[in-house]
Amino acid sequence: MSRPTSLQDEVTAALAAVTDPELDRSLVELGFARAALDGPGHVTVELRLPTFWCAPNFAYLMVQDAHDAVAGVPGVESVSVRLLDHFAGEEISAGVARGASFDDAFDGLGDGEGLDALRRLFHVKAFTARQEQLVRGLLHGGSTPADVAALRLADLDPADPDCREYLEKRRRLGLSTDPAAPLAVLPNGHPIPAERLIPYLDRARVTRISVETNTAFCSGMHATRYGGPEVNR
C-alpha cells in the first residue's frame, strides 16, 4: 500500500524543487503546479500560471524544468506536463513533450540562441537578491563594508537556511562554494571591494525589491484567477 503514496511524495518533492525562474520560488509553493500519478509509472503535471499572457519563454522554462525534474524520479516512466489556460499552452506542452528546443517549438520567432541566456539572467537576479539580503543583514548587525569584503564563505553559518539558500544560488550560477572563496562577489565571481560595496547594494536592492514585488503581484493574480492563498516573502 505504501508504494504509490511514496512515489507520489517523491514526485511532489521533485516538482517542489522547480522554481518560477523570475520569482525564484517553488512552483508548488506558489500553487502554480501540481502532479498526479494517473497510471503505472505515469505522471501528469498541470501548470497554471497567473495570467493567460505570461511570457511564453518563461513558461517554457517552467514546463521543461517540471518535465525533467519529475522524469528523473526513479519509478517514473513517463511524464506529460500540461500548461493550461495559456495563449501558447498547446505549443509549449507539445514542444516540451517531443524534446524540442524553444526555437524549434516557436519556429522562426526566436533568434536560434535558445533560452540559456534567459535562464542565466534569472539566476543572476536570484543570486543578487539573496546576496543583497545577506550582506544587508551583516551591515545591520554592525559589520563595516571592510569587514564584509574580508569575509569568506567559511564565515557563514551552515545551519542557517538563508545561508544554505544563498550557497545554492551560487552553485547554480557556477560560482565557487569553496569555504575559502570570498563572500561578496559579482555574478562573474569577482570579489566586491569594500569601497564598491554600498553602490553595489543600492543596485542589488532594486533587484531584490523587483523580485519581491513581482512575486506579490504574480501570486495575487494567481489567487484572483484560481482562488487559493497568496504567497509573501
Binding site: T51, W53, E113, I209, F217, G220
Partner: protein, 336 residues
C-alpha cells in the same frame, strides 16, 4: 471636482487612460480566444488590486460608456486632464481595442479634458509613417504610445532600436511629437529573449535626447524595475509612468512604499507621473490614498528620500503638465 488639500486645489493629470471596447461583438471571429483572454487578464488586474467597492461586473468592464468615464475621471475622480494612450490590437478586435479614432471622438467632444496621443508600429513601414503624419496633421499629437508586444500576423513584437523604429522616432522629433510612452511585454522579438527588457529604451533615450524626445516608461518598467531605475538615473529624458504601480497603494502598501522610495531615489520627484490606467483602476481612490500616503520611517531613513506635499503635487499633475504644456491655474501651481 477638484481635490482640495488645506483649502487649495490640487492639479491632477491622469497620464494614462483608455476608452476601450472589448465587448464580445467586437471580437474578431478568428481571434476570440485572444480577445477574451486580453480583457479577462485586465479584469483580473482590476479585481486583484482594487478595493472591493470599486470592482465592476465583467460586462461593464468590457465596454463602459462615455458617461461612466466622465463621471469616474472628472466629476468624482479629481482629474483635471487625462491623457489617452491608445492600444490598437486590431489583430484581435474588429474595430481595435482602444484606438486613436475611438479616443478622438471623446477628445474632440471634451477638448478641455482630454489629450489625444497617437501610436505607431514600425512593422507598418512607409505606409505607417504616412498615416502618422496624416493623423498628426488632423489631431496635433504631443505624444505617442508604443506597445512593443503587439502581435501583427506572425510577428510577436518589435524593438525601439529596429531600423524602422528609428525612422519613426526621427519623424516624431521633426513633427514635435516629443512624449514617447513605452510599454513592454509579454512578448517581443526575438521571442526567446527577456520579453520585458528595457535596454532599447536606454539606447534611443541617449540617441534622441538632443532631438528633444522624452521617454515615459509605463509601469516604471515593471517587472524590470531594476533595469528601469538604472536607465532612469543615467538618462535625464526618461520618466516613470506610475500606472499599475499606483494601485499597490491599497492592496500591497508596503511594496508600494518600497517601489516609490526607489523611484524617488533613482529618478526623483520631477520625473514620475501619476496614472490610473483607467478603466483598469479609477482615479478617485488612487488620488485620495496617495494624498494620505506617507513613506514609512525606515524607508525614509534607509534611502534618505521623502515624499513631501510638493512632491505629491508634482507627481499628481505638475510633471505631466510640463511635458504636455498644460496650463496650470496659478493657485494650483503653487506647491505647498
Amino acid at each position: 471636482m477638484a481635490y482640495r488639500h488645506n483649502g487649495e486645489d490640487v492639479f491632477v493629470v491622469d497620464s494614462h487612460v483608455h476608452f476601450w471596447d472589448a465587448s464580445e461583438a467586437n471580437w474578431r471571429p478568428d481571434a476570440r480566444v485572444y480577445a477574451d483572454g486580453w480583457i479577462r487578464c485586465f479584469y483580473d488586474y482590476h479585481k486583484n488590486l482594487s478595493p472591493a467597492e470599486w470592482v465592476w461586473p465583467l460586462p461593464k468592464y468590457q465596454k463602459y460608456t462615455e458617461q461612466d468615464m466622465m463621471k469616474d475621471l472628472f466629476e468624482e475622480g479629481y482629474v483635471d486632464r487625462a491623457i489617452f494612450l491608445p492600444t490598437a490590437l486590431k489583430d484581435w478586435y474588429v474595430d481595435g481595442f482602444n484606438t486613436v479614432e475611438r479616443d478622438a471622438v471623446m477628445a474632440e467632444k471634451h477638448p478641455d479634458r482630454f489629450i489625444l496621443n497617437g501610436r505607431w508600429d514600425p512593422r507598418d513601414g512607409e505606409a505607417g509613417l504616412y498615416r502618422l503624419e496624416e493623423e498628426h496633421r488632423r489631431w496635433g499629437f504631443r505624444g505617442v504610445k508604443l506597445y512593443t508586444a503587439e502581435w501583427k500576423g506572425a510577428s510577436k513584437g518589435w524593438k525601439l532600436t529596429d531600423d524602422m523604429s528609428r525612422r519613426y522616432l526621427d519623424r516624431c522629433a521633426e513633427l514635435g511629437i516629443v512624449n514617447i510612452h513605452v510599454h513592454k511585454g509579454p512578448t517581443i522579438w526575438p521571442l526567446n529573449r527577456d520579453a520585458f527588457d528595457v535596454a532599447d529604451v536606454d539606447d534611443v533615450a541617449t540617441a534622441y535626447r538632443d532631438a528633444g524626445l522624452r521617454f515615459i516608461v509605463e509601469h516604471c518598467g515593471l517587472p524590470r524595475l531594476e533595469d528601469f531605475c538604472w536607465i532612469g538615473t543615467q538618462e535625464p529624458n526618461v520618466y516613470g509612468g506610475l500606472a499599475v504601480v499606483m494601485p499597490f497603494i491599497h492592496a500591497r502598501p508596503r511594496y508600494f512604499a518600497e517601489v516609490l522610495s526607489e523611484m524617488l531615489w533613482w529618478l526623483g520627484e520631477d520625473r514620475l507621473l501619476f496614472a490610473s490606467d483607467y478603466a483598469l483602476w479609477s482615479p478617485k481612490w488612487l488620488v485620495e490614498k496617495f494624498m494620505a500616503f506617507e513613506l514609512p520611517d525606515d524607508l525614509r531613513q534607509q534611502k534618505g528620500v521623502d515624499l513631501t506635499l510638493e512632491g505629491k503635487r508634482k507627481i499628481l499633475g505638475l510633471n505631466a503638465a510640463k511635458l504636455y504644456d498644460i496650463q496650470v491655474p496659478v493657485a494650483q501651481a503653487a506647491a505647498g
